[in-house]
Subunit: 423 residues, 2 copies
C-alpha cells in the first residue's frame, strides 16, 4: 500500500492549515480552561498596601525595642483597625492598636502580635475593645506584616498568553480587579455520522442495524478538548443526504466539520465523493491501524476531517488528528496525550502500519506493564472501555516480544495508575 501517508506527515500537513482563533472578551467566571489571549501584567503592587497577616495588636516594634521594652508588658490601646477601612491612625512609641487580618497597618507601626499571644480574650466573640492589653512576648520588627509589593510589583507579567486557565489563575485575575479578560474564541465543530445502518439510541434494535456511537463519543471528546459541538445527527447513504448535512454544517458557521464513516472504499461511501465535488480532498488514507481511511479536505472552504466509521477507528483518529487541531485552534501547543514507556506483558502482533492498541497499563515493582484488552477489532468499543491506554506500535513493526518497551498514551483524565498514592 504505497499510497498510504505516514501519521507524522499527515499530522504536519493537517496542522499547517490551522492557527489560533481570534480573541474574544468574556467574564472571568466563564474562563475555566479557556486560553488566555494576551499577557496579563499587574496594574498595581500586591499587597496593594502594607497590612497585617493576623488578627492581633500592631506596635512600633523598632522604636519600642530601642525604648527598652521587652518580656511581658502592657500597652494602651489607642485605636481599632478592622479590615476594609482606610485608617488615619498614627501609632507612636509605646502605643498599640487592635488590627484585623488584611487591615492596613497604621502609620508608624512595623509589627503585629497575634491575639493568641496577648491578654485579649479572643475566644469571646462579644469582648469589647480593651483600653489596654498585655503582650506575653515581644514581636520582631516586620513580624506578621505583609509589606506593600511583597508578592507582586506593579507592571509585573503574571500570566502569559497561551495559558490554559485554572481556578487559581482566575482567582489571580480577580485579585487584579479584572472581571473580563481576552481569551481565544472556542472552536465551533459541526459533527455528523453517515450510514444507513445507524440508529439513534433510545429505540429497540433493528435487523441489520447498529446504534450510532460516534455522534456521542466524538462529540464528547471534542467538548472535553474545549470545542463547542454542533451535532447534526446521521446522514443516510445517499449523495444528496451527505451534501445536505455538509451544507447545514457550513451554515452553522463552523471552524471545522468532523464526520465519521463514508470515506472508505465502499460503494455507498459518499463523503469523500462529496468533498471532491464540492471542495477538495487534500489527504486520504494514512498508514495507521485502526483509522486508515482518514480523509482531510474542505467543503466550501471549511476544513473537514472525516474519520472512519468503526467506533475505535474514529476514536483513535480523533486523538491522533482532531485533538491537536483543536489545541492549535484554541491557542495551545498541539502536544500528544500524556505518554509513558511501558513493558509488554505478552507478545504483540501488528501489520506494519503505525498501530494504536487498547491496553491496560498497571504499575508493578518492575515498572509499568501493559496487556491488551481482548479482541482488538476496530468495531469493538468495549476493548476501549476496558483500556486505560493506547499502545503505539511504530510503523514497520510486525511483532514485538514480551518484555519489549513501547510508548503508551494514557486515556483517562486522571492517570492514577502512574502515580504513587501517599502512605
Amino acid at each position: 500500500m504505497t499510497d498510504l501517508i505516514s501519521v507524522n506527515q499527515a499530522l504536519s500537513q493537517i496542522l499547517s492549515e490551522f492557527s489560533s482563533l481570534p480573541p474574544e472578551e468574556i467574564e472571568i467566571s466563564e474562563a475555566l480552561f479557556r486560553t488566555l489571549a494576551e499577557d496579563i501584567h499587574s496594574p498595581f503592587d500586591l499587597p496593594l498596601f502594607s497590612n497585617s497577616s493576623v488578627d492581633g495588636f500592631a506596635v512600633c516594634a523598632s522604636k519600642d525595642i530601642r525604648a527598652g521594652l521587652r518580656g511581658n508588658f502592657t500597652l494602651p490601646v489607642v485605636g481599632d483597625i478592622p479590615a476594609g477601612v482606610q485608617t488615619n491612625l498614627r501609632l507612636g512609641k509605646g502605643e498599640t492598636a487592635r488590627i484585623m487580618t488584611g487591615a492596613p497597618l497604621p502609620e508608624g507601626a512595623d509589627a503585629v502580635l497575634p491575639v493568641e499571644d496577648t491578654s485579649y480574650p479572643y475566644r469571646d466573640g462579644s469582648a469589647p475593645l480593651p483600653t489596654e492589653v498585655t503582650f506575653y512576648r515581644f514581636p520582631k520588627p516586620g513580624e506578621n506584616v505583609r509589606p506593600r509589593g511583597q508578592d507582586v510589583q506593579k507592571g509585573q507579567k503574571l500570566l502569559i498568553k497561551g495559558r490554559k486557565l485554572q481556578p487559581q489563575d482566575i482567582g489571580m485575575l480577580a485579585t487584579l480587579g479584572l472581571d473580563r479578560i481576552p481569551v481565544v474564541r472556542k472552536p465551533r465543530i459541526a459533527l455528523f455520522s453517515s450510514g444507513d445502518e445507524l440508529l439513534s439510541p433510545g429505540i429497540p434494535p433493528q435487523p441489520g442495524k447498529i446504534f450510532d456511537a460516534n455522534s456521542y463519543s466524538l462529540g464528547l471528546l471534542a467538548q472535553r478538548e474545549g470545542a463547542e459541538v454542533i451535532r447534526l445527527g446521521v446522514a443516510r447513504d445517499q449523495y444528496q443526504a451527505v451534501v445536505d448535512l455538509f451544507e447545514k454544517a457550513k451554515n452553522a458557521n463552523t471552524d471545522l466539520i468532523l464526520t465519521s464513516a463514508g470515506v472508505s472504499v465502499g460503494a455507498f461511501d459518499f463523503v469523500r465523493q462529496v468533498l471532491e465535488e464540492h471542495g477538495q480532498v487534500k489527504l486520504w488514507r494514512v498508514n495507521m491501524r485502526p483509522g486508515k481511511p482518514l480523509t482531510y479536505g474542505s467543503f466550501a472552504g471549511i476544513p473537514v476531517i472525516s474519520l472512519p466509521g468503526n467506533p475505535v477507528s474514529a476514536f483513535v483518529g480523533f486523538l491522533v488528528f482532531v485533538r491537536p487541531v483543536i489545541a492549535k485552534l484554541t491557542g495551545l501547543e498541539p502536544t500528544p496525550p500524556a505518554t509513558l514507556p511501558v513493558i509488554l506483558e505478552h507478545p504483540v502482533l501488528s501489520d506494519g502500519r503505525e498501530s494504536y492498541l487498547r491496553a491496560i497499563v498497571q504499575k508493578t515493582q518492575d515498572g509499568f506493564v501493559a496487556r491488551l484488552t481482548g479482541h482488538q477489532g476496530s468495531g469493538n468499543l468495549y476493548s476501549l472501555v476496558q483500556a486505560n491506554a493506547l499502545l503505539i506500535i511504530p510503523a514497520g513493526v510486525k511483532s514485538l516480544p514480551a518484555g519489549e518497551t513501547v510508548q503508551a498514551w494514557l486515556l483517562d483524565d486522571e492517570p492514577l495508575p502512574v502515580l504513587e498514592k501517599p502512605e
Copy 2:
C-alpha cells in the same frame, strides 16, 4: 496549640458525615464526567449479527476450498448487501455477493475478500455492480467476518456503578441503544465570601480594600470537581449580613454551604458565631499550614465548610477537605490528588503543622525535583499561580534538608512534567 485537630482526623470526621447523592436519569449526551449510578449490562450480543469488517465480496470459503477453488478465479456476483439492510440472500458454493463494511453476512457465507484484492474497480465511485468478479487470492474461512457476540455477550456487565463516564464509555452506552442513564445527582454547593475589605472585580481599587478572589477560585474548583455552584457574593462583616447569606444558601436547596473568611479569631469574624447560634460547629482549627482556622459545622441542618479568607489557605483547604467531600457526594472514591515523590532542591522550613507549600516540580535525570515558588504567605496567590504542585511537609517536621524526598500533589489537570514525551 494542643487544641488543633490533625488533618487526617478532621478529614475522617468530615467525610463520615457525607454519602453519595441519589441517582437521577439524564440524556447520555449530558453525561460526560458524571458518575454511573447502576451497573450496565449488555441487552444483546455485540456484534448483534455476524457482519463484514471490510468492503468486499462474501464467499462460502470452507465449501469453496473443499470444492477445489484456489489461486485466481472468477465467481458470479449473485447479490449486493449494503450496510443497514436485513438480507434474505443465501449464498451457495462457487457464488459471491458484494458486501459493505458492517453489512450482515448472507446465510452460508463465512469469509469476505476485500475489494482491493479483487478485479472490482473500487476507486471508481460510479462503477455498477458487476455480474462477475475475479479474486486475486483466496480468503481463509472466517477472514474479515465479525461473528455475532465476538466482543460482548448478552447480559455481560460492561460498565460498573461508580464509574466516572468518559467519551468512550458514553459511546458504549449509545452502542447498547441507551439514550438515558442513571447517574448520581450533581452536588449543589452555595458559596459566599465574607469581609468588609472585599470588592468585586470590575471596579477601580479602593484604599484599604482588596478584590474578592475566593468567590472565583473556589467556585471554579468546585465546578471542576463536578458540582453545581450557586454564587452568593460577599457578606459584609455584620452578624445579620452573614445570617442572611446563610439563609439564602439554605433556600437554594444546597447539599453543602462553602464560605471563606470570618472563621479566625478576629473581632469581626461572625461566620463561626452564626454557626454556633443557628446550627452547630463540629470542628474548628486544624493542624495545617496554611488553613488552620478551617471550620466544619451546619446551618439549619445543612453541612457547612468554612475556609479561611486568605486565598492560598482557602485553595489548600478546598483541596484537602472539600474536594474529597464532593467526590463522596458524587459517588466517587474520595482519593487525594495525584501524588508524586519529589526531591527537595533546597532546605525547607516549616512550623510543625502539616504544611502545603507551593512548588515547581520538574523532571531531571536524577528524578523529580522541587523548589518553592517564592514567598509562601497565605495571601500570595501568585505563589500558587507559579506552582504546579503542593509539597506536603508532615506534621511535627520543622525543617528538611536539600535532597530529602517529600510527597507532592500535582496541581494542574495535565501532569505534563511527570510523563515522557514521545521521541
